[in-house]
């Protein structure tokens, strides 16, 4: 499934979220089960399938990571968990160790500092990724190489995301 095609939006990394939201609501206006409560069974099934597809496409496009992975897939690339380089693995291991220490000590300031550090790295990676996507969608001299670079950055971003999820978990606990 190509979520860009399902929502009729251009295949680009950058997305206008308010336009995406509008498009999503317009489509659900005609597809949502509530709009077909009075229809016969097979017609309800037909629109339901489509409504689910639109929901899924919307969820993918609204999420920066998932949108990038979907875009890469439409361009012929793929992210794998094995594509991480040893240097990144080391770095992440150290960061996560520091995080669990800070969590155990309930050191909110330290957690916030680590989160900011990873947040900055993620922002840089996303900027780099945008550049590679521009290259891929323009006249790329070495498409295979660009696809690989995009996949590597996305693999890195997955690690950052997991780290940020852990921070969020800590914030939830700390607030209780």
């Amino acid at each position: 499934m190509d979520p860009f095609a399902t929502l009729g939006l251009p295949r680009r990394y950058a997305v206008d979220k308010s336009a995406l939201d509008r498009r999503y609501r317009e489509l659900q206006q005609t597809l949502h089960p509530d709009k077909h409560a009075g229809a016969p069974a097979s017609q309800r099934a037909l629109t339901l399938r489509k409504a689910i597809e639109v929901n899924e496409a919307y969820r993918v496009l609204r999420d920066d990571q998932k949108r990038a992975e979907a875009l890469l897939a439409t361009l012929g690339g793929q992210v794998t968990d094995h594509s991480a380089d040893p240097e990144l693995l080391m770095e992440m291991m150290e960061l996560r160790e520091a995080l669990s220490e800070a969590r155990a000590e309930r050191d909110t300031a330290k957690v916030a500092k680590l989160a900011a550090q990873v947040g900055e790295q993620a922002a840089n990676a996303r900027q780099e990724l945008a550049g590679v996507f521009d290259e891929l969608q323009g006249q790329s001299d070495n498409e295979a190489n660009a696809l690989q670079r995009a996949a590597a950055i996305l693999g890195r971003l997955r690690y950052y995301r997991r780290f940020q999820d852990e921070v969020a978990l800590f914030e939830d606990e700390a607030l209780v």
């Binding site: 498009r23 509530d34 016969p40």
Partner: protein
């Protein structure tokens, strides 16, 4: 102006909305003229206490009458049954301060042992409340149609399923389970006609929900939802009751009798209510089997007791904001729902948390039932309805138990529903023909910390070497937020037999048996209802099809219109018969014949939406163009 009510025997049954609350329940509907309204009892009260009393013989008593018997018959009078819905007997929630006698200490489902040597499940107790509400509504409406029943947004699948089962048991046709905060937003939104980002803070008797949603010209899109299905006004009562028990001059407050526990809980509730207006309350408690004691509670003391509870809601709110990618300053309004939001400490806390005073223009006790009635009317009412759409989300992640007891998420929380996802598993032994699957719901990393929804055994896998069979397990979540699981083997394409063992729910057979056991469900009643439902369904389908034929003549192929009209006439003819199966067969014919036409209509609507020019937008543009026409002279559309 008083309108005379004319009894029309052919009048369509009226859809209703039900708020099945922990402490109180309500039923509402949308009349032919005017806005949604709650059904009142003979005293003019909309609230029906969610209390059911079982006596030695005779029918159970529901509502105020049952409420009066809580202290005299604490074990036979079930209060706040909602807290037990979809829960196991060994659940810590089940084990909290309360006067009940449980039939079993373990086992999948909670069972109360009540008078008359009866054993009842929370589903059956809730069904009694729903039956009572249905009866009250019938007094006013003659005939009740389908029902929208509200549930806390944070209810998990087992709790939702239990609620739907209770409704079936009460003989209600459930149009939809609707999340309580979304219902409240619907009532507020249609009232205020405002667009923007809203937060609904819903603190009821036993559950807490927070929902963040966008209102955009009749579309209510939930962005995120969060909550705690074990936190509510009841917990405030319990916190205060524990203190009162220690002041009741009992030999050992930890071993108070059921009647003493109930007396303390009732006194705590009264004192909490009084402290909404007063800053100090002095009360007398007649201790069953003891003396009468005087107690003094100040608002500061209550605030201190409930502070930890209120702070728990703050954490949930902050997470919901983060999930919605919103900050407090982005909010257009804060909507308060639930009786417990009357507590002054709650109000001031919410005001501080979101940086603005909350909206309270609609009665927080009634707003959910009113919203449910509006939704029921949208789904099953007649004539032109306002153009409104509710887009909701899955409240808690769904997943399966993976190797090492880790919970693997298949659908994350806040996924828009209806939704569906598939995951492929493989066999780990040669010639393995069965596969166990444990379905979970929750956010925790370990399966043991999540809610167990069901265990599945997939059977009949073709014998293949380990790792060769590929099992696709599909999760489908419908617009009620209810989950269905299906599976098939991919190499052979064979659908698998699934044996479901709901961890805490009832199986379909149980429900059927209970339905048959119920005294007011003799076989003839069931047949009459089936016929009535089939007729209503036929009428709705016919009028929808006629409308489609009128609107989209251009999409019809030659001869197609006549064929559809002939099938329509056959359905109408069949409704005059007394056979529900005959009506059903003609509806199926019509469905088959009109399917290609329906498909074309859907594709056209999608194309319209994708062109970025929905109908509404086209109309606005046309209106705008007409406005500037005179200045442009010969401008064309």
């Amino acid at each position: 102006m008083a309108l005379m009510q004319i009894h029309d025997p052919a009048a369509a049954p009226r859809p209703i909305g039900i708020d099945l609350g922990t402490t109180n329940s309500l039923v509402a509907y949308v009349p032919l003229i005017g806005g949604a309204t709650c059904v009142l009892d003979c005293d003019g009260d909309a609230l029906v206490p969610s209390v059911v009393h079982y006596s030695e013989e005779g029918k159970p008593l529901v509502g105020k009458g049952a409420q009066r018997l809580t202290e005299e018959h604490p074990e036979d009078t079930i209060v706040s049954v909602k807290r037990f819905m979809g829960r196991g007997a060994d659940d810590p929630e089940t084990r909290r301060l309360g006067p009940y006698r449980f039939a079993t200490d373990q086992g999948p489902v909670v069972q109360f042992a009540v008078a008359g040597q009866r054993v009842v499940t929370p589903v059956e107790v809730s069904a009694e409340i729903l039956r009572e509400l249905k009866r009250t509504a019938e007094d006013e409406l003659d005939e009740v149609g389908g029902a929208v029943i509200t549930v806390p947004a944070y209810f998990d699948d087992a709790q939702r399923q239990a609620t739907k089962d209770a409704a079936r048991l009460a003989g209600l046709n459930v149009l939809r389970l609707l999340n309580e905060p979304t219902a409240a937003a619907l009532a507020y939104g249609l009232d205020s006609q405002q667009n923007g980002l809203f937060v609904v803070y819903d603190l009821g008797g036993g559950t807490f929900d927070v929902t963040i949603l966008v209102l955009d010209n009749g579309v209510f899109q939930v962005r995120s939802t969060g909550g705690d299905s074990q936190l509510g006004g009841d917990d405030m009562d319990r916190a205060l009751a524990e203190r009162l028990l220690s002041e009741m001059q009992l030999p050992d407050p930890r071993h108070a009798s059921p009647a003493q526990v109930r007396a303390a809980l009732n006194a705590a509730r009264r004192i909490k209510h009084a402290l909404t207006e007063q800053s100090l309350v002095e009360a007398e408690i007649e201790v069953p089997g003891g003396v009468t004691v005087q107690v003094r509670v100040s608002r500061e003391e209550l605030d201190a007791l409930i502070k930890p509870l209120i702070e728990r809601t703050g954490a949930v709110c902050r997470r919901a904001l983060r999930d919605a990618e919103a900050r407090p300053e982005d909010l257009t309004g804060v909507i308060l729902v639930g009786g417990a939001t009357r507590v002054p400490a709650v109000r001031s806390y919410v005001g501080q948390l979101f940086g603005q005073p909350p909206l309270t223009s609609i009665d927080p006790d009634q707003v959910v039932a009113l919203g449910a009635a509006i939704h029921a009317d949208l789904l099953a009412g007649e004539g032109d309805r306002p153009d409104v759409l509710l887009l909701d989300v899955l409240p808690l992640s769904l997943g399966v138990e993976a190797m090492g007891g880790v919970a693997e998420k298949i659908l994350p929380r806040n996924t828009p529903i209806p939704a569906s996802a598939a995951q492929v598993f493989t066999t780990y032994a040669d010639n393995q023909t069965g596969f166990d699957l444990h379905v979970l719901q929750g956010e925790r990393e370990l399966a043991a910390d999540c809610r167990s929804l069901a265990r599945f055994t997939l059977k009949g896998i073709p014998p293949l070497p380990a790792g060769m069979a590929r099992l696709e397990v599909r999760f489908d979540v419908d617009a009620d937020g209810l989950l269905k699981v299906s599976a098939r083997e991919l190499t052979t394409g064979i659908a698998q037999q699934i044996e479901v063992k709901p961890s805490y729910g009832l199986r379909d057979e149980d429900i059927e048996r209970m339905l048959m056991d119920a005294y007011d469900h003799a076989e003839s009643d069931v047949a009459t209802r089936a016929l009535q439902e089939e007729r209503t369904e036929a009428e709705r389908i016919c009028s929808a099809t006629e409308k489609a034929l009128q609107l989209d003549v251009a999409l019809l192929e030659p001869g197609e219109g006549d064929a559809i009209r002939a099938a329509l006439a056959a359905v109408r003819e069949a409704t005059r018969s007394a056979s529900s199966s005959a009506i059903h067969a003609r509806i199926e014919d019509l469905d088959r014949i009109s399917k290609p036409f329906a498909g074309r209509r859907m594709d056209r609507s999608i194309a319209q939406a994708l062109s970025g020019r929905g109908l509404a937008e086209l109309e606005r543009e046309t209106a705008h163009a007409r406005g500037i026409e005179p200045h442009l002279g010969n401008a064309k559309d």
